[in-house]
């Protein structure tokens, strides 16, 4: 790629705004999760994780069902869902960009990457997804890839040694794939 092409801002593709997954088939998906675990409090965190993996976030309706099925007070479900960092009580974009904020990444410039991504995507880290619903931005406390610092993880893809000037390439690749 030439320097010229690379410096161009990525063409903003207007993906057709997608609705959140319809809740109709949600119950079926949840049933499949409940079958895997013993129906008591000890399964709560695992069930919530699976629910989040399936429907992308923890909707109030899904949490109602979890409380019912596991026979746990709804308030307990809420407290666990808000306590642990990996749970999202907001819908998230199709792809989750996780910027590692571990110490090694921090000293090698991770905070600048977050600032840049927030600006480029027009979202806040940990907030709502981009308007085309493609990306959500989050910071995480160390993905354990400290030798790659500063690291960004999108889905299962690890991007190593990122700088503000490499972010366009990352976003372009993730937008297309």
């Amino acid at each position: 790629m030439t320097a010229k092409a690379k410096t161009k801002a990525p063409a903003k593709k207007k993906a057709p705004a997608k609705e959140q997954p319809v809740e109709a088939d949600m119950n079926g998906k949840l049933d499949a999760i409940f079958e895997k675990y013993p129906k008591d409090e000890s399964s709560l965190i695992m069930v919530l994780q699976d629910v989040q993996d399936t429907i992308n976030w923890l909707s109030p309706e899904a949490m109602d069902r979890v409380a019912e099925e596991l026979n746990v007070p709804r308030a307990r479900v809420q407290s666990v869902a808000t306590f642990y960092r990996s749970f999202s009580l907001e819908p998230r974009g199709k792809k989750l960009i996780k910027v590692c904020m571990g110490t090694a990444c921090h000293v090698r410039g991770a905070p600048i990457l977050v600032d840049e991504l927030e600006r480029k995507l027009g979202v806040k880290a940990g907030g709502a997804p981009t308007c085309d619903n493609h990306f959500s931005l989050e910071t995480v406390n160390c993905v354990g890839a400290c030798a790659l610092a500063p690291a960004i993880v999108v889905g299962e893809e690890y991007y190593s040694k990122q700088t503000p000037s490499t972010l366009d390439k990352l976003l372009k690749k993730e937008r297309e794939s």
Binding site: T2, A3, K6, T7, D40, E41, S42, S43, L44, I45, M46, L48, Q49, V72, R76, S79, V80, F83, Y84, R85, S86, F87, M101, G102, T103, A104, C105, H106, V107, R108, G109, I112, D115, E116, R119, K120, V140, N141, C142, V143, G144, A145, C146, A147, L148, A149, A151, E156, E157, Y158, Y159, S160, T163, P164, S165
Partner: protein, 652 residues
């Protein structure tokens, strides 16, 4: 080789292990591609596939050279080799050839030169010094990074395929367990105690003593737990062990279960470690299938079941009592320490919890004996310790050295010194519970007790090296911010103390600090240290107190001169383009706020009102003419100066 359906007794298992080893004697070449995340990010999976294709393409030539795939030639994807900085790594055994920085496309060379002709691919060998034309290491034994290590916990990491049971067994897997089975449970505990093994999670409590006190509590059921909730930022020892050698972790727990009479156990793994969950799940399934987990294991009458629990992503859950609450499906809040978990732990039953690295040391102790283990290390800290050596150090990666080595040896000899030969400023050990140590502490011995006395701690083994481009006030602020997010909020000193400390630190990095703020910070830190409920709260002020102790001048420079020497604190810096600018317009094009003006081949200027100090101009300038100004002085080169190399990179 197909394993028998179930192993009826220890002898059947050992016979099988022998058979596997015999069958491997005819192996002439083994080609290992690193499958750790560092190398995978560099394309090692693709390289692995390509090697397979190249081997197929050269099948006839390889056969002529006496190499046949799967019989005399084996390719495998291993766990992390440790030296992530040199990735993607490919090694060829038994010659110990080490190929660094391989790329997709290099597979052809490796197969044609090394496998077919038996020659080295010179330009893929690891370069021993940064200079062009410098010597290259022919084997990994020649590389100081590996030569100075002694691997016990990492014994199989990077050499076996983590998903292959036969590989594990051929490397001596389960021998420790069979030895333990031949002993009485008390003798096993005695052996562990004699070895002097101390918990690797950070606190350093003697493992044998913990086991003994659990046995003394007479109860029907004992739980054992493996703590794989490695929440310390800057540390990835446990992740690598679980990713790369899951069977050994389970073997350690099997020995523990036998010694303690436990029938059920948990491995608590961090949510951020999907590969560890995958490999551990595979290992548990496999061991259950062949009768090494379940009822009547190896005909000994012992039963043990193991489950994996994925953590919810909370730092505090690395604290044992919080972890147990989390396993029960509750909010992970710690409780006061006067109730000991060996008496009332998980579900209020006796529980023995050890860290991943501790468990993985146990089979080695059973195998080679307590005397061997205790001969390594210092009088009070036995054995070796794995460190994740990261930050501004040349060879980032995982290293395992005997306890008692100095910081200097680890950073300069194993780690190869500071990146780009910049001056060393500090090393941060022990994660958010540890502290930052300055250059004059480099000769301290690294063990449980010495570092604690110096105001830091060894902790679980994170070691973040910092150079003169790291702002210590910013580091203190970073850890405090981290801990605010991660404080469970149960006790006031930790919850409120951290918040107030952060406000004060933030004020200083904004250039609005006053001298009395330092006293306030110290008072708050003292309160947190004495009044917090759990170990995390008590140790929370250490990053702040240690930086204040050793780098007070830097705090004062922020307050009095409004200067951030390292060029990190954004409100205290701005960028300027100096007169050496060649007018290439690169920065102008890349500036996100169009703050840069200037004509072709003429000096460019940054409009300070528009500038958001993102640093892109600094980053892209091919001739390093963008300066960082703080406190009226140039404080340059925030990241690595690369000059022309950078120009080449931007063009490529």
């Amino acid at each position: 080789m197909t394993a028998p359906k179930t192993f009826k007794n220890a002898k059947a298992l050992l016979d099988y292990a022998k058979k596997v080893r015999e069958s491997r004697k005819i192996r002439k070449r083994e080609i290992r591609v690193c499958g750790g995340p560092g190398c995978v990010a560099g394309g090692s999976r693709k390289i692995y596939e390509e090697i397979g294709q190249e081997i197929d393409a050269h099948a006839a030539e390889l056969k002529a050279a006496g190499l046949e795939l799967d019989v005399t030639l084996v390719k495998k994807c291993t766990g992390c080799h440790g030296m992530c900085e040199a990735g993607p790594i490919v090694t060829v055994e038994p010659d110990s050839i080490f190929y660094a920085h391989t790329k997709p496309g290099d597979a052809k060379k490796i197969v044609e030169e090394t496998l077919v002709k038996g020659e080295l691919v010179e330009d893929l060998l690891y370069r021993l010094c940064d200079r062009k034309g410098g010597d290259r290491a022919h084997t990994y034994h020649d590389i100081p990074f590996y030569a100075l290590q002694q691997r016990i916990a990492l014994r199989n990491v990077g050499t076996i395929d983590p998903t292959d049971f036969d590989d594990f067994i051929a490397a001596g897997g389960l021998e420790g367990f069979t030895k333990a089975l031949a002993m009485k449970p008390e003798e096993v505990i005695e052996e562990v105690e004699k070895s002097g093994l101390r918990g690797r999670g950070g606190a350093g409590f003697p493992a044998g003593r913990k086991w003994k006190s659990a046995v003394r509590v007479k109860k029907d059921r004992v739980w054992i737990i493996c703590n794989g909730d490695e929440g310390d930022p800057g540390a990835f020892m446990d992740r690598t062990i679980m990713d790369s050698d899951p069977y050994s972790v389970i073997e350690g727990m099997l020995i523990g279960a036998y010694a303690l009479g436990a029938t059920e156990g948990y491995i608590y793994v961090r949510h951020e470690y999907p590969l560890a969950v995958k490999h551990l799940t595979m290992a548990i399934e496999r061991l259950t299938a062949i009768g090494l987990l379940g009822d009547n294991i190896l005909g000994s009458g012992m039963s043990f079941r193991l489950k994996i629990s994925r953590g919810g992503g909370a730092f505090v859950c690395g604290e044992s009592s919080a972890l147990m609450r989390s396993l029960e499906g509750k909010v992970g809040e710690p409780r006061a320490k006067y109730v000991r978990s060996v008496e009332k732990g998980l579900n209020d039953e006796p529980t023995v919890l050890n860290n991943v690295e501790t468990w993985v040391c146990v089979p080695a102790i059973m195998n080679k004996g307590a005397d061997w283990f205790s001969s390594i290390g210092t009088p009070t800290s036995k054995g070796t310790k794995v460190f994740s050596l990261v930050g501004k150090v040349r060879h980032t990666g995982l290293v395992e050295v005997p306890m008692g080595r100095t910081l200097r040896e680890i950073i300069y000899n194993v780690g190869g010194g500071i990146l780009n030969d910049r001056p060393f400023k500090a090393v941060q050990t022990g994660g958010p519970s540890g502290g930052c140590l300055p250059a004059d502490k480099l000769d301290l011995s690294v063990d449980f007790d010495t570092l604690t006395r110096a105001g830091a701690m060894m902790g679980s083994g994170g070691m973040v090296v910092m150079d003169d481009r790291t702002c210590m006030v910013d580091v203190a602020k970073y850890f405090t911010k981290f801990l605010i997010d991660e404080s469970c909020g149960k006790c006031v000193p930790c919850r409120e103390g951290l918040r107030q400390t952060y406000e004060l630190l933030d004020k200083i990095t904004r250039g609005e600090g006053e001298m009395e703020d330092l006293d306030k910070i110290e008072k708050l830190c003292h309160t947190m240290e004495v009044a917090s409920l759990c170990g995390l709260g008590k140790s929370a002020p250490y990053p702040v107190t240690s930086t204040l102790q050793y780098f007070r001048d830097e705090y004062i420079a922020h307050i009095k001169d409004k200067k951030c020497e390292a060029g990190v604190c954004k409100p205290l810096i701005h960028y300027e383009i100096n007169k050496n600018c060649i007018g290439c317009k690169l920065c102008k094009k890349r500036c996100p706020t169009e703050a840069i003006s200037g004509e072709n081949k003429k000096l460019h200027v940054i409009d300070q009102d528009k500038c958001i100090t993102c640093g892109i101009c600094y980053d892209v300038c091919p001739v390093d003419t963008v300066d960082i100004i703080s406190g009226g002085e140039v404080v340059n080169n925030r990241l690595e100066p690369t000059g022309k190399a950078k120009l080449a990179a931007t063009k490529a």
